[in-house]
Symmetry: C2
Subunit: 323 residues, 2 copies
Amino acid sequence: MNRVAVDALGGDRAPGEVILGALDAVADGIDVVLYGPGGLDTQGLPLVETTEVIEMAEKPADAVRAKPDSSLVAAVRAVAERDADAVVSAGNTGAMLAAGLLHLKRLSGVMRPAIAVPIPTRQGPSVLIDAGANADNRPEHLLQFAHMGAVFCRELLDVGNPQVRLLSIGEEDEKGNQLTLEAHRLLREDDRLNFGGNAESRDLLRGASDVVVTDGFTGNIALKLLEGTIRELLDALRDEITATPRGKLGGLLIRPAARRLRARLDPDTYGGAYLLGLRGLAVIAHGNSGRTAIANAIRLAARGAEHRVVDRLSERLPERVRV
Amino acid sequence: MNRVAVDALGGDRAPGEVILGALDAVADGIDVVLYGPGGLDTQGLPLVETTEVIEMAEKPADAVRAKPDSSLVAAVRAVAERDADAVVSAGNTGAMLAAGLLHLKRLSGVMRPAIAVPIPTRQGPSVLIDAGANADNRPEHLLQFAHMGAVFCRELLDVGNPQVRLLSIGEEDEKGNQLTLEAHRLLREDDRLNFGGNAESRDLLRGASDVVVTDGFTGNIALKLLEGTIRELLDALRDEITATPRGKLGGLLIRPAARRLRARLDPDTYGGAYLLGLRGLAVIAHGNSGRTAIANAIRLAARGAEHRVVDRLSERLPERVRV
């Protein structure tokens, strides 16, 4: 039985939606413990009382040190102290990363933790890694990200022999910047990876590969561009449609189709970003996560604990990544 | 009277659509000369005969040297030799860059040419620079790109005091990688720029700024991601809509609205990418440019020549960029 520690105060819609999402996960048989202030109405869920809160705008590293008894830090510490098997928060991403590094610590052999985000493509999820844990990376980091992404894909998304591609400015092997050209060579030489060469960003939403590897700066730019473009485009379409009576009628008729598309593209479907490379599984849900997103994040955290993703990462990384 | 040299064989739909686009530009009073093989039916437009062709898949630098009498290289040389004031091609982007560096050469003081692309946002065009002329950049390159983008914006898009922002992974000054942190400092210190700080990629299509500065790798990833996401999303929506009879009817009713949106987002509206920093104006139209795109690219090239964009760049860069 795996236990998931949930930061009851993380995210814009906490604690209300967090508690509802946690209840949904509990209904699936998951063991959830909330971390939050005493007196919180948890609707019967177990609560570990904490006294502090980390706000979204705080400087991560400072906040994590200054507020050891915040709901976020206490939930992360619960995993470090084996009181829980995974942690979920929709709070400050940087604080989760800082708390993870401080309390969970890196897995042996891991140079840099990375954020893995499942992108909802037509062919199913495509894992983008690193989506922003790092600002600057070296080629050997990208090789580790490839392995972490492959383990994530196999264990959590049930993809047999996941294909890994490297995000670059052309599909040809010789296209790229210094970082990707060198990373390409490392990926190509590693015969335990199913490496499919470079992928172009234009194919990201179409499903370029099971795993798309990139540095944290480029990955963060790509992820936010994808999210922002989807939102802006759907908003612009709605504005154009509602500008005429004919369009308005058409809009009513296509509403179910638009809803299906929105549901597929909604980041909530997969529940969040996975912080990989630490001695414990941490899931960062979107800041505006609602009930469904929180429930999905908890489900995937529990599944990760069940599949012992951290052990799988630990087994795979130190023996193979020697660069 | 400014003359535009047009590569009649550039692009997937050449020469047919190129000639039609050129005819439209001529109807606006622009002086166009085509570069292409003898015997080409130019519908009366003047032709300078060339004997070679550079294909899309050829290695740019090699092709440019091996085929000095290709339509692309000859059209670029026409600008170098003052037979024309600007050049337009929908052919191989890398070959245009290589031919530009070889025959037009860099403007004095310019470290690296850059590609400027107008992104069609709700608030009008936003210029992304560099969109892929460079794979690796240094901070001082980004400072030059900022100035080139500002000149482009003022002279070609009629924006009075263009705001410049730096693409990064957070709006806060301290968010970024080593390159953007240092570039941020240079941009901030340059009091002749209207610098608005960092911009996030999620706001790119919404209109983050008049000019968005980035390195060529990140800019190329961003541009292709934007284009690919728009295409994939509109395709996915059409598939969802046509999956049911109700949706199909709605689809008919919203068609004008969808067309308006597609027209606004169509890269053809602005005609292409501008290669800045050379001793001559070069415009790279999209590989699949049709008549309208080619005509718009020629119009903007003529406008650039009229506004003496190259002289404006030359005046502005050497005196101010000392890093």
